[in-house]
Amino acid sequence: MSILTESVQALLQDSKAAKVLATVDKQGIPHLVSDNTITVNDEGQIIYLELIETSRSNVNLVNSIWFKRKVAIHLSKGEESFQIKGYPVYSVISGPVFEHYYKLALERNPEFDLSTVWIIEPDEITDDTYTARKNKERDEHPLITHLDRLAK
């Protein structure tokens, strides 16, 4: 069962939401791609469509699935903001699932030549709004704040 709530899944399915995928290379150097086509499948797994076989993201994802390294997805729209971390679990390069998304990519843009359907299993999710993050910090680290905030 997926850890993604219904509201997060709805946001993942919203093409107007901002979605950013973060990966790291072998040396730990981060790499970001912004892609609002990132979505979710019926199993609550995140789908990222890689269009460039030799891209830095794709190579980093390959190393992530090989060596069990997490990737991160930032998701936001309006007042909502989430960060999801998870593991790439499938690199789909052929078969019915691949061909489904290949056709979908072609419909979006006839120039798109899909390389890989990445399926990412979410492992943790955090509310990434300022309010949620600040409240968490106040609870766990009450000594970290400016005194003027506490003045009468």
């Binding site: 190579v59 699935i65 090989w66 679990v89 052929s94 061909e99």
Partner: protein, 402 residues
């Protein structure tokens, strides 16, 4: 795996499964859906299967790595493909090792050409490659000089007898099958052709070159441009033959296998090739192909581990690996990628009773060959994980792209 933390565990699993072979449980075979999965295949080397038993032609791992192989009933310590909790898995001594998938069947597979030939007998399908082997008879075997690791003629003779599968394809069948295959969006990224060696012609291999020209032109008639992503795995052609092939077809890349990268062992194991062409000349021709196709667009396959076949092969794995990688570096420094398959002492080959090397040998070999490509900045797009899928070393390259 703990010792080689920087090597893909999927590639290690692939190497070991190929090395030790595998079998299916009845549950796993029950998961084969003949309407969705491939269970019939035309291959040059190995086995085209048993017409009475529907067995998946190969396996795919979660990361897109292929395991090319057929189950062996005589393997001494095989992996077992089972179905557990609704998923197909590889197991070793009862422990789940990794999830696997059967290869899907492309749309053209169950169709027929206008001559009535089943299209699956014209073109096999790997996960992203169309495989067309227009001639599955090798002339080197005619005088008993076939390569000792190979079973091409035994396999094709059996398939002709039992399945009425022709050893030779027609250009029209090739044209029609490629045309049909291209109707399936996203299914293929490459066309590969291969054949047993044809020695006849004014110059040795002239007739083989003519055959490839005819077949590549037939396949090429389906494309807008003259050149299309394609390769052949062929005999070592002369510069004149290579130029003729390049100029008259859409061919973009070329492979000729050196098989055993050691002259003395090549002379013993590939006796026919050594007698008719010779190791040094076979190698020279492969390297000269770079002048035509460009660096990185020429590769040469080796039967990894066969250099330890007895009684003349290396007896020490370190010595064998050193010799192989030194020769591979000589190729790489001149623009040729060396790629390896895992030597399987196959039924029908002269070496069927031999023992292949350790898993560690194959891990070091794969890493060594991949590292050489990195050192000499050779990309292996022509023979990468999603095209051939039979080379653990080129599987590793996808994690090393700069």
């Amino acid at each position: 795996m703990d010792k080689y933390k920087d090597v893909s565990p999927f590639v290690i699993i692939k190497s070991d499964v190929t090395r030790r072979s595998f079998i299916y449980t009845d549950r796993a075979l029950g998961a084969l859906d003949k309407s969705k999965h491939q269970y019939q295949q035309r291959v040059l080397i190995g086995s085209n299967g048993d017409e009475n038993a529907a067995v998946p032609v190969s396996l795919l791992l979660r990361d897109g790595t292929s395991i090319i192989g057929m189950p062996s009933k005589t393997a001494k310590n095989p992996y077992v493909v089972d179905q557990i909790d609704g998923k197909l898995v590889l197991t070793d001594q009862g422990e789940i090792v990794e999830e696997v998938h059967y290869w899907y069947k492309p749309d053209y597979y169950d169709k027929f050409t206008s001559s009535g030939t089943p299209m699956w007998q014209v073109a096999s399908s790997r996960p992203q490659r169309l495989e067309i082997d227009p001639n599955s008879h090798c002339h080197f075997w005619n005088k008993g000089n076939g390569c000792k690791f190979c079973n091409i003629n035994a396999n094709s003779a059996q398939s002709e007898k039992e399945c009425n599968m022709s050893k030779q394809l027609t250009a029209q069948d090739v044209y029609e099958t490629v045309k049909e295959a291209l109707k399936q969006p996203g299914a293929f990224t490459n066309i590969k052709m291969s054949s047993g060696s044809i020695l006849s012609g004014a110059e040795i291999f002239d007739d083989e070159v003519d055959m490839y020209i005819e077949m590549l032109q037939a396949a090429g008639d389906n494309f807008k441009d003259k050149k299309f992503p394609s390769t052949i795995v062929a005999s070592a052609f002369s510069e004149k033959q290579l130029a003729r092939l390049y100029e008259n077809t859409g061919l973009m890349t070329y492979t000729s296998d050196i098989e055993i990268p050691n002259e003395a062992l090549f002379a013993w194991i590939c006796k026919g090739k050594h007698k008719e062409v010779g190791y040094a000349e076979w190698k020279r021709r492969i390297i000269r192909a770079v002048d035509i196709f460009g660096a990185g667009n020429v590769s040469s396959g080796i039967v990894g581990g066969c250099e330890m076949a007895q009684p003349h092969g290396f007896t020490n794995e370190d010595d064998a690996l050193k010799a192989v990688l030194e020769e591979a570096e000589d190729f790489a420094s001149q623009g040729v990628s060396i790629v390896h398959c895992v030597w399987v002492p196959m039924h029908g080959s002269a070496f069927h009773n031999q023992q292949n090397p350790s898993l560690e040998y194959y891990v070091r070999l794969a890493k060594g060959l991949s590292d050489l490509r990195k050192k000499y900045r050779l990309n292996v797009d022509m023979d990468n994980y999603r095209k051939c899928g039979n080379h653990p070393d080129s599987d590793l390259d996808r994690g090393n792209l700069e």
